[in-house]
Subunit: 117 residues, 10 copies
């Protein structure tokens, strides 16, 4: 759950404003209140500046939440913060769609735009 | 059916303009004219300001309509009003999709925007 | 087929700009040229001003076209005109999707916006 | 609604046991109790003996129920009886899937097998 | 929740072995353990003998479970028993598909065959 | 393949800016290079001015391409040109979706806007 | 439209009872009564004996029906007869699903089993 | 991961041969070779004899595999063995559909039939 | 393309008649006639006897066809033969669904049953 | 993998701003890190200026990546660069949707707009 786990590689097309979408349908963490596992689909859409996230390190970073107790809103905002800190992207959006609990399902959508964008 | 049933927790990311979508597919109330049960899917999408709605209290609040007679348009506007009163969100939209009656189905969509937004 | 069939009730939230969508999948009339029945799905989306349409009267009004000969374009525009005359809505859109004839299907979309909107 | 409306043509492959499926998604009649229109999809599957049903006459025969009051079970059995009387097929199945009423939908399935089959 | 609520009408085609399928997607009762509402889709498939179930009485009978506490397995078996007692059908199958709880969903399927069938 | 085949009727609602969509899923022509048949779905969306296209004449006009050799881009632009010449619509869009060839499929979208619109 | 157009190649696994399914979604012929084009999806499923049908020759054979007037039942039985004559398969089934005409669609299913099978 | 976790309740309809299907879409364990998490959907279908499985205990039992290293085939057979040991059902089938790995997905289906059935 | 590439592991439940389904949607080889790449989805369903196929070796074995010219029927039968030779399963079925070519798609289904089964 | 493989033909409607969409669902290359094949769907949408891309040459150009090691981001940007160099389109967008690896899938979207557009 440390952002140091995230590795990057150089964006070879930094002059072009293009979009990378990463879909991770196997995210799981634990509800801090009930101790029950939560499941969700994460969709990360970003426009890289100098760096892109390396996919294998992203997978291991996401897996590190597996046994951590953390609320929906917090985990979504935290992952966005970590990715923004490591990548400094031009723009990034994170959509987290969590499985229903008690007949009710929740999606959280966070967006970051570089201040100089 | 009282807005006092709705509990909140502090938004830990009040500076970020992000979106929470809550989908409650098991809403049911009673038609005041025919006494027949109505069924609907509620979709609540909001951008929190200082507070977020606690999901379990929301579930109990929605269940409190189970045996109440109330029209489509009224129940949709009322739930929006209650949530806005308790949360003072930056923006909130409520979409209610009701099951067909007499071969005709009805959806109601209400939106609230904070006056200072 | 008379707009006098359409009954209304008072909009209890006239200050809010909200949307009501009514989906009537069992519309049928008769082609005036061939005498063959036509079938279609009507979608009415409107923002009420002072009045809302009562659903049962709408159902009976739509059923009154059952044995009338009328063309696609005419029936769509006429129903919009009748609803606008009775409701004076802020905005109204009517989409009529007709079943295929001769391997070709036709949809007609009409929109009304109140002149003072 | 008379079986005399049904026309036939000779089966050119009477020695082969093959199957014809006819799907008529625009069937409509009237509920004798409420006077409200009913809508359904009819699926006719049969193995012809000496005769096949002519499609245009079948369409007109089915349209003749448009303004007749008749219950689900009766209309399904009656259409099967009429087709069997006119075609004497080796086997015939009629599935009628009616649109929901009061939140409940009904399908009726009738089968005929020639006694010498 | 009393089988006396179920009304019947005479099967006009008792000599034919045909099938009636009734789909009721708006069934709801209450979990006796948690007090939480349960939701399910009921599919009733039967071959009538002398009697058919009247649909409006079936709807009211199913609605009478709305505020009753009863387990999945019990409600499914009980409805089958009530329908069999009232209709004495040749064969009847009841499939109940309940909405997920705790991430797990349950379906129950019961079958009755008349002993002389 | 002559635009003279296209017949029109008067738009009875010329003062209203409304939309007619025509979907013709059975278009077929021939590839001029390989001699192989091409298949496509045409979607015509237009806002009529003084005239609407008559559907049966449109069907026969489209069928007249059946044995003509013509490329994807050309047939799409030509049909749009013919319809615009005959109808002088306020706006018209033609989308042609062709079936895959060599594992690759092609869609062509052309738009016309009246110069005085 | 001549079975001489159908070419074959040797089945290299004649000792194994295996199945080849060929789906041809672009079949078109002409209705002999109305002169209007018909469209259909053909599904051929067969267990080869000594020979398999060569796909390109099958495509050209099916295309040869493009401008021929022939009824649904006849074209289905004829294609089955031609393929059986050329391939002498252990078993063959041909399912032809034709596009709707007058709101009614027709499927024809023919089966051949080798007499020594 | 101990079968002692599984609780049961008495089947109140032991004389009837009926079926209970339980769908658990949030199963996860760990690959013993790679240490990577596996995900799967479990479908349990059984005909109870004297006992039924209690759903909450089943949920906790399945969750106990969360951090255990175990192969696809072993986990499926083991869960079936545990459920059979505790329930002694008349019949039970367990289908486990695992998410793709390396572009390849695997499903395992095990069946138990009571020897006296 | 050598069956020596296929590795196995011991079936730990040899006494149980259970089923393993492996779905490989990324199969590709080359058409020996045209030199064009072919694409297909392979579905392998088998009941293991003493051995199961190891998934990573299966993946590499299937990838070894990537640049080989081989016909649909041959590749399907060959893969079945190789897997049967290595695993000696009780039963095995291989379904190969190839992408359309020239508007026509082909599926091949082969089955092996152990002679002592 | 050379842009010289791409052939063009003259746009016969250069004065019209229209759109051509090409969908190539059978793209495959090789991951330079693991040596494993990658699979993706490419969607090219462009507005031609003087030239259009010839489809067969495009197919062969895309096939030339089959055994090349190249990363997702690079292959997408490179194909866009090659097409832009050869066609000088008014606008072009390339969307590449790659199959999941390690449970995570990636899409890359690049856009080019002519500087004088």
């Amino acid at each position: 759950m440390s952002r140091e786990m995230l590795e990057t590689f150089d964006n070879e097309f930094p002059e072009r404003d293009y979009e990378i979408e990463i879909i991770a349908p196997e995210f799981t963490s634990v509800c801090p209140k009930t101790g029950q596992p939560d499941f969700g689909v994460l969709r990360i859409v970003y426009t890289p500046a100098a760096k892109c996230v390396e996919l294998k390190s992203l997978k291991l970073y996401l897996q590190s939440f597996r046994n951590q107790g953390i609320f929906y809103e917090n985990v979504t905002n935290r992952i966005l913060d970590d990715l923004v800190a490591v990548l400094s992207p031009r723009r990034m959006k994170l959509v987290a769609e969590f499985s229903p609990r008690g007949g009710i399902s929740t999606n959280v959508t966070c967006t970051h735009v570089a201040s100089h964008d």
